[in-house]
């Protein structure tokens, strides 16, 4: 379960891939749902799903952040040069920060009028009320543009992993798949 100097434990690996799939899914779900026509059968269901999954990802991100802080991190493989190591660490940190910004701004859109967020109609996350003027509009802009930035960085991160696997032929990607 725990990380070592050379490998990621199963919890780190599961959280990485689960959150990756959910965040990328949320991005495309959000991108698609904002242009749905009013009479589309998904017009109400898609945003409800988007919000529910968003809250779940937020909970996973909290667990992941706790795990990241309390666990040792495997060392970069010796095939990486100093520049790659610096950039990759920066990218990793950014990919911890940006999801939180996106998730919190999303929360602020839906709760700006005092309404709670229903998670799969099982439980509700209460609103903190309106915290600033035009909250839904400002939070909306942050939610949208930070999501675009995050997807650009996710693409860079994925391309870098593929570069390690196919060009450097090292164990970077395999390590995150638990096969090192």
């Amino acid at each position: 379960m725990k990380n070592t100097d050379n490998s990621y434990g199963w919890l780190s690996i599961s959280l990485h891939w689960t959150i990756a799939i959910l965040l990328i899914g949320l991005f495309f779900l959000g991108y698609w749902m904002v242009d749905l026509s009013y009479y589309d059968i998904w017009y109400q269901k898609a945003p409800a799903l988007h919000k529910s999954i968003g809250i779940i990802v937020f909970i996973f991100m909290l667990i992941r952040l706790f795990w990241r802080i309390t666990q040792v991190q495997p060392r970069p493989l010796s095939t990486s040069n100093a520049f790659e190591t610096t950039v990759s660490h920066l990218v990793h940190k950014t990919l911890y920060v940006l999801p939180f910004i996106i998730l919190l701004s999303g929360y602020l859109i839906s709760t700006a009028d005092g309404r709670p967020i229903s998670v799969f109609e099982l439980f509700e996350i209460p609103s903190l009320g309106a915290l600033f003027n035009n909250q839904e509009d400002i939070a909306g802009l942050i939610h949208k543009y930070v999501a675009y930035v995050m997807m650009a960085i996710v693409s860079l991160h994925a391309l870098a992993a593929l570069k390690h696997h196919f060009i450097d032929k090292d164990g970077t990607l395999k390590r995150m798949l638990g096969r090192s």
């Binding site: 026509s37 009013y38 009479y39 859109i109 035009n134 909250q135 509009d137």
Partner: protein, 190 residues
């Protein structure tokens, strides 16, 4: 003598048409004025809301109604239908596009007394970058001294505008192509 008479005549002719029209400022400060709207939802019910921020004034003279004028400026980003997600959507590009068209204005062009305090008010409404003449069926509610040393006059009116007429797409279904506006204003005489 002739000169004095002439002067008096000129002075008199300048004063006469002024009558005693008074300028009023719409009391948005004390929130005794409302720009409400309603639109049908799916054709099954009415959805109502309002614009929270606007300023304006009118000039009104009970003895010369036709000379009355009204002008109002609305902050379109103050659209409020008591639902943050819907408000964000309506303020967005598909509808009001408040990023580009942050104000809507109304300038009256004619004020017709129909008797019994009923008024036909025409004017140019600029909304979403489109200017169109609209007709407001208005009514004078009352006027008189207020308890705090001022003088007030109030009116209300209704009109109906089409989303398409003002360059907005009709995306809310066939029953929801028009918005009804309900206006209630109270002015404080300056």
């Amino acid at each position: 003598m002739k000169k004095v008479l002439l002067t008096a005549l000129i002075a008199g002719s300048m004063i006469a048409p002024l009558s005693n029209a008074a300028d009023y400022v719409i009391d948005t400060k004390g929130a005794h004025a409302f720009i409400n709207f309603k639109i049908k939802h799916l054709g099954y019910s009415w959805l109502t809301g309002r614009f929270d921020k606007f300023t304006g004034g009118f000039s009104y003279d009970a003895s010369n109604l036709a000379a009355s004028t009204v002008n109002v400026k609305v902050d379109t980003s103050s659209f409020n239908s008591n639902h943050a997600e819907r408000d964000k959507h309506i303020r967005g590009k598909g509808f009001l596009n408040v990023g580009e068209f942050s104000t809507a204005t109304f300038e009256s062009t004619s004020f017709k007394d129909l008797g019994n305090d009923k008024i036909e008010l025409k004017g140019d409404l600029t909304l979403h970058g489109v200017t169109k003449e609209i007709t407001i069926d208005a009514e004078k509610i009352g006027e008189g001294k207020d308890p705090w040393g001022g003088y007030r006059a109030g009116f209300s009116g209704t009109t109906k505008i089409g989303l398409k007429e003002f360059g907005m797409q009709e995306r809310l279904g066939p029953a929801s192509t028009h918005v009804e506006l309900e206006l209630h204003i109270e002015g404080i005489r300056q």
